[in-house]
Symmetry: C2
Subunit: 148 residues, 2 copies
DNA sequence: CCGAGATGCATGCAATTGCAAGGATAGGGT
DNA sequence: ACCCTATCCTTGCAATTGCATGCATCTCGG
């Protein structure tokens, strides 16, 4: 039944949302100041760049980057317009697009990483001991299970 | 096997962003399904409702809810249009607005809370022991200090 | 083969957000 | 008083997002 969450749950919730939003804003700001596009672009590019073939169906990327279907579709429009990815019809499934990262796409992802990594270190890493970071990751990992 | 000193930081970063976005989406979905407006509305209303006078300068609310100034401004437009808050010129400072929560605003906030609390419990509280939630809040709290 | 339903993607429209700019007031130094 | 700067709020415009819908294709059962 509608349970009354104990204070520690509500406290953790508030900290989680506030901290993530603050840190994300700071990291995004660092990226923007360095002249890079939003982190979503990185998220898509890195998924493709990780694949040996540089290719994934759009639906697979969508499931990994936590974007609504129509939002990924339009993000891919932008990436394609900038020459960072291509869309190819899938030979296996006539409904599906294959996203293919281009050389420029790989290059941009590679160039973004040092700035991104530095921002993570500045805004997160420098505040926690490695064991604390691991513990944080462990606790967060407990939250994303099944039906939640 | 950490390959770089900051591997645990990157891992924590990814978990932080992914978990927060997933959980926030789930909680927002519960709220929407119950017919309630977005959580931002709650955030503003609760700040005002907490005040004995039901009143705060717009700039103070802004600093608490982590919205860009122009976004809070337009959110207040919507709240005002729905009769949940009023805007009054500040007697102390000619530049400043005082936001005043209305009875309907208080009522909506009160009605939203049980659904919100249940969602927090479902999506966060039920996955953590109270001590784990406290530890999570503590670690997150370490991340929001000064200039970071 | 046919039809019903599911899946993958795209798009029109409305709402929201980001950005840049502007108007009004406040505060401090001279 | 005056200027200079900072703060508080608003707004026009462009970009992005949410939502509902549409279209083509696939899958499954008859």
């Amino acid at each position: 039944m509608p349970m009354k969450p104990n204070d520690s749950s509500v406290d953790a919730w508030v900290c989680l949302v506030r901290t993530e939003q603050r840190l994300l804003a700071r990291v995004e700001e660092d990226m923007k100041r360095a002249g890079f596009p939003p982190l979503e672009w990185y998220d898509v590019l890195v998924e493709l760049d990780r694949e040996p073939t540089g290719t994934l169906p759009q639906a697979v990327v969508q499931s990994r980057v936590l974007l609504a279907q129509y939002n990924l579709c339009r993000l891919c429009d932008r990436l394609q317009r900038e020459g960072l990815v291509l869309r190819q019809p899938s030979p296996d499934d006539g409904r599906s697009n294959l996203l293919v990262i281009t050389d420029n796409g790989r290059k941009l992802r590679r160039e973004m990483w040092p700035t991104y990594a530095a921002a993570i270190e500045t805004h997160l890493g420098s505040h926690l001991q490695p064991e604390e970071a691991s513990e944080l990751a462990r606790l967060l990992g407990k939250l994303v299970g099944g039906a939640g």
